[in-house]
Amino acid sequence: MAEFLQFASGFVSAMVVLGMVRIVRGPTRADRMMAAQLLGTGGIAALLLRSDITGTPSVIDVALVLALLAAFASVAFVVKGAREASGEPEASE
């Protein structure tokens, strides 16, 4: 069972690596944001599997924190990216 979960964890990580190609290639900002999102979700899956393999429940906490912060980072991306694209000036300067 442990070997199978190891393999599954590695497989999920490999899929995430594939998704990273999209960060590099783009071409639009939305594509890069999506790939970061994939990295977050895939990372959470890999961490949950790892928590079971090593028997450390605290790794689930890391996955929880990642879920929250990945959502926050995605929101920051979208808001900044969209503001620039629509040419909306920031209320500063």
Partner: protein
Amino acid sequence: MTSDIILDCILAALVLAVGCWVIVVRDSFAAAVGFVAYGLLLTLVWVRLDAIDVALMEGAIGSGLTGALLLRASSRLGAKEQSAAAEQPGVMLRAVAALFSVIVAAMLATAVLYLPDPAPTLAPEAAANASATGMANPVTNVLMAFRAMDTMLEKVVLLVALAGVWSLARDRFWGARPGPRFRSDPKDPLALLAQTLPPLGIVVGIYMLWEGANAPGGAFQGGTIIAAMWLLAVIAGLTDAPPVSNRRVRLALIAGPLLFLIVGFGGLWLGEAFLAYPVAYAKPLLLVIEFAMTLTVAVTLGLLIVGPPDREGAP
């Protein structure tokens, strides 16, 4: 187990590759996205190295909050980004910089490769004395009890950094609210997210603080999560950043290090040493300090990301 080694090599190579790409890419937005991805990968590395507390910090600060900070810097660059990227130092300067980088890297590699085996460490002593504070998490023990001085000074450094950020404001903006005013649209999924997530996030943050006593976690991780939730509400336009001259904000900022100082001098006055906790009261005292620290960290990090005051109109 060779599959472990293969995975580790792939992870390490990926971290290097993404790091190089982030530096090389032209567009600063793409670099910010790449940096967040880099942070996520590093989180996986830390988990692989069994450093769960560090993994929590990396995921929270290194990936999420620093990514938002970089994005803010990128958007402030705005139109000047093209001209800034076009400036390039001369070949001579770049060659000298490359030479110094190689020398430093070689020194680091030598230091790591020639570490004495077993490496000198105080970790067994720290683990053995866990009963001094009644907490099971050795990292928290080191941070809050054995090296409490460092932690207290860290918080002061954070305050100094915030003062530095505020000093970037123009004179006429001093004391005003920082950052732009974000519009809020109630039909927006962003508004939904910003209304539902923060209560959850605050619970998770307090949970992290509480868990830190006996499992990976702690005040810094909890405070970071709460700061991220507050920033989410600000970005969605549901709440506004307070003016930097607000008294309650400033009180929250100094609460953590101040409490630390009070306890520290209390230890001195009770005859032991600075920051010596009386053994009977160690755990409740530490919890009170951690609570104040969480508040301070949350407010400080939130204000650091939001930036210097730059809005018209007196507070």
